[in-house]
């Protein structure tokens, strides 16, 4: 259909002109964009499914924030150009498609941030005391952790601790710190054939020790067992 072809051409031209005007300097090759998006989406899934914090991918976030801004700019330009343009309905469609993409992206970024902040708040003391966990935070998240910690500490001091005897005012002794439950069971998908060693003595006797799991299969297992494999990218959590 000729009209549809024109419409698609319209998309191409806009994307090319965006490349020169945006300062992100990223390549706007469709394939690469999809892969980046898939990466963000996967991170979001992992973050939701995992009991602990996932490592922070600064490049991914920055790139998508730039993209978000870029898309908003495109929409603004399209809206301005719309007045008096003969292709009003095509522009409206373009705008609505870009809008949908923006909504989708914004939701992912917001939900990802919310999920991470929730974990940071929940395990604040644990994260503060574990360098490996601190490494997983972005700079802004570290600031957040510090401020949040101060806020909570002040609150407890005001309501409880300052009224107790001096010797009993600590809140960060080992048994008071909440840490993520790494023994939680998770659903996961195997991407690369791996050997997994489980030491669940409570399972049936026939499933003891080391098992080989083929790529493409799914598994329910304790998070701790596959933790390293997830970091290596060989196993992926399902939510």
């Amino acid at each position: 259909m000729a009209d549809f072809d024109n419409l698609l051409k319209g998309f191409e031209t806009n994307k090319i002109s965006n490349e020169t005007s945006s300062n992100a300097g990223d390549n706007f090759d469709d394939q690469a964009e999809d892969a980046e998006y898939e990466q963000l989406k996967r991170w979001w899934t992992q973050e939701l499914a995992s009991p602990e914090l996932m490592p922070y991918d600064e490049e991914c976030i920055d790139m998508h924030l730039d993209l978000l801004q870029g898309q908003e700019d495109i929409i603004d330009r399209l809206m301005e150009g719309e007045r008096g343009a003969a292709s009003h309905s095509i522009t409206a469609l373009e705008v609505s498609v870009y809008r949908m993409e923006i909504d989708r992206l914004r939701f992912l970024l917001a939900d990802l941030a919310r999920c991470r902040l929730a974990k940071i708040e929940k395990y604040a003391l644990h994260i503060r005391g574990t360098p490996d966990q601190l490494d997983r935070l972005s700079d802004k998240e570290i600031d957040y952790l510090r401020e949040y910690g101060k806020l909570v500490q002040r609150h407890f001091e005001r309501t409880v601790l300052s009224h107790l005897p001096k010797a009993f005012r600590a809140i960060d002794t080992a048994e008071m710190i909440d840490s993520p439950d790494l023994d939680e069971y998770v659903f996961c998908r195997i991407l690369e054939t791996v050997e997994i060693e489980t030491d669940d003595r409570s399972d049936d006797d026939e499933y003891e020790g080391v098992g080989v799991h083929k790529s493409g299969s799914s598994l329910i297992v304790r998070y701790r067992t596959v933790k390293d494999l997830i970091e290596e990218g060989k196993v992926v959590l399902m939510y």
């Binding site: 978000l68 909504d103 989708r104 914004r106 917001a110 902040l117 401020e147 609150h155 009993f168």
Partner: protein
């Protein structure tokens, strides 16, 4: 010498925890009970002090040990209950901040929380807003995945005096009480959440 025995070991702390369960959402901040629990802690501490002062510091007789341990345990238990009580309530406050898009608490909810807790809430709200602003994405928006079907919604104005607004997409709407409009969800989401517009399914 028999130390004075208290019958209240950990009782006040227990009452605090029961208080948490006594209402579906949360009961009002029980300042009296908190104070009583703290007082119980301090009484245990006084008992410990009385005992340790009566003997030389490095020669506490063995038969004092169980009493000291008991008082310390009761104190710690109460402390734990106190912290749990406050922590649970903080969790509820944080939950509310993330579930409602506007940070304003309704009066009856405000009445449930103590002064310190309300201060916490406004500081917390500021903290999260700042983070969102720095990050570049508003964390109280986009609470659910965008749904292509819900792109446009029908809403009715249920609050008076809203006047005319210009939406993000450039349309202007006259929000007369009782009028209905078919608009982009994103344009009016914040008004629906605040209760000024009602979404018609």
């Amino acid at each position: 010498k028999t130390p004075q025995t208290k019958m209240e070991y950990g009782n006040k702390g227990k009452e605090l925890l029961i208080d948490l369960k006594s209402s579906e959402f949360l009961s009002a901040y029980n300042e009296d009970l908190v104070r009583a629990t703290v007082q119980e802690c301090n009484q245990h501490f006084d008992e410990i002090n009385k005992m340790t002062k009566a003997v030389p510091a490095d020669a506490i007789p063995m038969d004092c040990a169980p009493f000291l341990k008991l008082h310390e345990a009761a104190l710690m238990r109460n402390k734990r209950c106190l912290l749990a009580y406050h922590s649970y309530r903080l969790d509820k406050l944080r939950e509310m901040r993330s579930e409602t898009a506007n940070a304003v608490l309704t009066p009856d909810i405000r009445a449930t929380f103590g002064e310190a807790e309300l201060d916490f809430y406004s500081e917390y709200d500021r903290l999260v807003s700042n983070y969102g602003a720095q990050y570049g994405v508003n964390l109280t928006a986009d609470l659910s995945p965008p749904d292509a079907e819900e792109h446009y919604v029908q809403v009715r104005v249920v609050q008076e005096g809203l006047g005319k607004i210009v939406t993000e997409s450039g349309n202007s709407l006259v929000l007369e009480l009782g009028s209905t409009h078919f608009v982009r969800r994103a344009d009016v989401e914040h008004l629906v959440v605040q209760g000024m517009l009602e979404q018609l399914d």
